[in-house]
Subunit: 241 residues, 2 copies
């Protein structure tokens, strides 16, 4: 049976073997939730970039651009980090260059994996179906907050571990912790997260409806999969049928 492991921070990723594995990058509030939303609403592809400067360069090539720093939209970009801004007609058929505080860094650091995909509650069952198709060992990489552990990404890892518990062996204590925390939180994710640091940070920015939206399971069918430099949408066979 393949195993499922969880890395709580991009700062710990050097401790994990990536070769031979599928990495699921998660940044629930809000980078990976927004990526899933955009690709489900007709965005053709996303290039994750590291710096605001690089992101601006893509704008000159006709790309849409999105940038977030410290939970806020950076100025002079087309989109911020709210999933609602990714539902617009504007995104259809376009390519997006995107940089965020934590999420795009986690994707870049995972590049040595066999496959890198993007997970969120919004596409939870599709991510699980994708991993069942692949049948490889899995590492969930939580983007965290500036290198530190966060609860919302951990709950996603726990939800995925629950969903795959008959087909993937939990590896290491981080997976067990995520499993138990999700077990405690599952009937009221938003209530459980009400004391979480980033939720409080976002509330100060008046982004309640983003939080509620990002915690909904299975709104979209697609899994963003890295192909070369781009995240492109993929729908697992079992979800299609």
């Amino acid at each position: 049976m393949p195993f499922l492991d969880v890395c709580f921070s991009p700062e710990l990723i050097h401790l994990y073997e990536l070769k031979g594995r599928v990495v699921v990058v998660v940044d629930i509030l809000r980078a990976t939730s927004s990526m899933v939303t955009g690709l489900a609403h007709g965005l053709e592809r996303i290039v994750p970039v590291s710096s605001l400067e690089d992101c601006k360069l893509y704008s000159q090539q006709g790309y849409l651009t999105a940038a977030e720093r410290d939970g806020k939209m950076a100025s002079d970009f087309d989109l911020g980090n709210s999933p609602f801004s990714y539902m617009s007609e504007l995104v259809k058929g376009r390519t997006l260059a995107m940089t965020t505080t934590n999420g795009t860094r986690a994707i870049r650091l995972s590049a040595a994996a066999d496959k890198v995909v993007v997970g969120a509650f919004l596409n939870l069952s599709s991510v699980a179906a994708y991993l069942l198709e692949q049948q490889k060992n899995v590492l969930v990489v939580c983007a965290g907050w500036k290198g530190k552990f966060n609860l919302e990404d951990t709950l996603f890892a726990g939800a995925l571990a629950h969903k795959l518990q008959d087909s993937f062996e939990p590896e290491n204590d981080a997976t067990l912790a995520a499993w138990h925390l999700y077990e405690t939180a599952k009937n009221d994710l938003e209530g459980f997260l009400s004391k979480a640091s980033h939720v409080q940070r976002l509330r100060n920015l008046d982004i309640f409806k983003d939080i509620t939206f990002c915690l909904q399971p299975d709104v979209y069918d697609i899994v963003p999969v890295m192909e070369g430099d781009y995240l492109v949408p993929y729908t697992p066979e079992v979800i299609k049928s």
Copy 2:
């Protein structure tokens, strides 16, 4: 109100401010449990050292020596990492040089803190009393396993957060996670930990009774406190009286 924060791995310690804080280093299985046991049984002081080679040099100065690597006692040292080996008459009045896979490294990396102390379930209430005396912000540094998150150190952090919940504010999601995991596990710590990686590792080494012993709360009154290069035993006033 001062706050209590938790760092899940020595690899993340650079993300935390240490100045102005009390750091509690925890390595339940078994470094910090053994340190508490030894100092409670008459050991005068402990010098935590990094390498096996450095540890051997202390032997030539008449120190007792203890060394553990990968859960096993390293050869040519007086003591290993089982708390039972620290209950001997041998330790009375002696100084011990000690090196372990994870615990002594965590102590060394915490040196910039105002105070560095050693915690275990065995001295849980005394550590809490010490922190109430100090009234400074607290960082619990979990030694983890080779840089990765582990459950038993996290449960200690959660137990401490429970004990101090009226006097210290939880800071960051790691503290909330530890709090919830302890809440889930508290009625049967050993059962909860039965799937934990290091517990399975130690069971393979046939060390059941060490695990049972290390999970007992409040067996000893003393808190090991770093003074210069040495950990020395301290008994908080409220515990003395």
